[in-house]
Symmetry: C4
Subunit: 198 residues, 4 copies
Amino acid sequence: MKKGRLEAFSDGVIAIIITIMVLELRVPHGDHIRDLVPLLPVLFSYVLSFAYVGIYWNNHHHMIYAVDRINGAILWANLNFLFWLSLIPFVTSWMGENSFNRWPVILYGGVLIMAGLAYDILCTQLIKEGGRDSTLAEALGRDWKAKYSVLAYVAAIALAFVSTWISVSLYVTVAAAWFIPDRRIEKKVRGVKGSEEQ
Amino acid sequence: MKKGRLEAFSDGVIAIIITIMVLELRVPHGDHIRDLVPLLPVLFSYVLSFAYVGIYWNNHHHMIYAVDRINGAILWANLNFLFWLSLIPFVTSWMGENSFNRWPVILYGGVLIMAGLAYDILCTQLIKEGGRDSTLAEALGRDWKAKYSVLAYVAAIALAFVSTWISVSLYVTVAAAWFIPDRRIEKKVRGVKGSEEQ
Amino acid sequence: MKKGRLEAFSDGVIAIIITIMVLELRVPHGDHIRDLVPLLPVLFSYVLSFAYVGIYWNNHHHMIYAVDRINGAILWANLNFLFWLSLIPFVTSWMGENSFNRWPVILYGGVLIMAGLAYDILCTQLIKEGGRDSTLAEALGRDWKAKYSVLAYVAAIALAFVSTWISVSLYVTVAAAWFIPDRRIEKKVRGVKGSEEQ
Amino acid sequence: MKKGRLEAFSDGVIAIIITIMVLELRVPHGDHIRDLVPLLPVLFSYVLSFAYVGIYWNNHHHMIYAVDRINGAILWANLNFLFWLSLIPFVTSWMGENSFNRWPVILYGGVLIMAGLAYDILCTQLIKEGGRDSTLAEALGRDWKAKYSVLAYVAAIALAFVSTWISVSLYVTVAAAWFIPDRRIEKKVRGVKGSEEQ
């Protein structure tokens, strides 16, 4: 089965998720620059989520690129992943409109955990289809970044009972860590595809 | 006529349908976890519809993949199918916001019936273009799953006058039955395309 | 310049236009079937516009398919066409929510005229790029359907001062006339492409 | 790394941005033509932003077309560019709903500046990947249009304290200047690709 439509559908859904979040930046009634001040937490929340969804799109791009075939289980694992991503606009608004209060911050972390686990399941299904020795499995074999991220989200949820700013700092730190693109897959793929082309 | 744009347009419409449903998960005014409790039926309704739209995308993907050519009648049958799918966000919200009361549950079943019939018409047009002996016709020849689904929706509507929970259970059961990907088409296509490539 | 991205962008915009119209079908507060009755004009208005946008997508698909090259003027003519299409959700809502009163019906016709003229400009630009003798020019040379449609919209606007139901009937009639796919382009393209492949 | 998904994702996001702006054209309560009069500034604001987003899509199309490879840095520069574009619907509404008052007009210019700079960063990354001698670098080497645009936005912001109509005129002038497609890249690409094909 070709993977083109899986990519196209995922791109469509992720593009919509990343864009509809901006609809929550509601236009203020006043026309002065200070009327925008109450929107600052909403904007910050939007920036954070834009980064997270962007990171996931980027990684999804790399990961799907590394496989040649997809199957039914991969389709469902992908839909499951998209489902959890689709809840990000909701938790982003709740967190932004409540100025990063405790429960919204906790729920945000909860959705990040679920999206992270769903991404992991998708990853496992892709490796299963490609076999243990595939490029992807090798490339991801020592990937602790995803596991550390989930641990950081769990810590962020626990620490929200101390101060939500610690939690938010953790979310920002994890996002920053992911900004460094996953060069391992890129190199592996480039190496294998390069040698195949010779 | 090439089928690429039909796929791209359908993917776009289905991606938007599956994503805009989350806009109905309106952010509550309070910031406590218990403020989310009234949203639970809306969330459940969203999960159910996300599954249905995902199933339809999946099956659409398989079905279009199995044909080589499209024509004008297929384009219109596809638009008709997309029209009924596009009503799912509306009936999902109505059902969720009214906590699965009788009429919303009935209308939800009605739209599922219409989407099912529209899918069947699209299927018939694809077989007509491909000829009775085509891979698709063979693969679908004994497909009772779609017919049983429509029967289940009809039963769900009738039983909504007894208890809407029976109806909703039926919707969940049908969705669960469809989660098993349609391996018959997949195998047939793989077999035929494989032998062509030799 | 390749036409793939023009198709992809246009498909995206048209897919969003056709789908966001359903957001105007606002969920009623009550949960009885009779609470849907006030939505009937909105639904009818949605069905009509879904058909129009679907027709335009279909024709756009055929027309772009018939050309091999695009240029800057075509890109702008295409954006102009998409702009007028993008106003359809607005006029659809206004017409539906006001139960087909005079001014909304007139404005609906006005937007249809502008979309029709923009489509015509796009068509002219495509023919210019392909040359007078191209398949497209030949195929469209005797195309009176588009011209009759614009005349019908003008008549519908004038007759809205007598009865808006005449206007709406005209809109429905034109849409129905377009449902018959434009077999001329299809045949010409098939013929030319077929002979090229030999 | 192939550039197809970068194009598809960018097309998706830009298509959504350009289309959701029309959701701000809220349907008036009355049904008379004069009820549309208060919407005129909103409509004008929409037309201006539709032109800007269309121009950016057009230039993005040309620029990505001119390169053969993309890398991680390009992916992030592209996301950064899409982020600033995604704020255009917000500033468009604020400017339209406040009839082009001072602060909304200034913020609009601010977002245009940021989008312009983000586009410049993306451009630089693309040139870096392609090397100083690449077609793109040559084609863009003497491109002062982008720099003059940013200067015009800065001037528009400063002059908003005199009259916002000067600012808006500047925005319209810049948009008009960009309507002339960037023939230099087009010619260069055509030349190089043409000679490669021989």
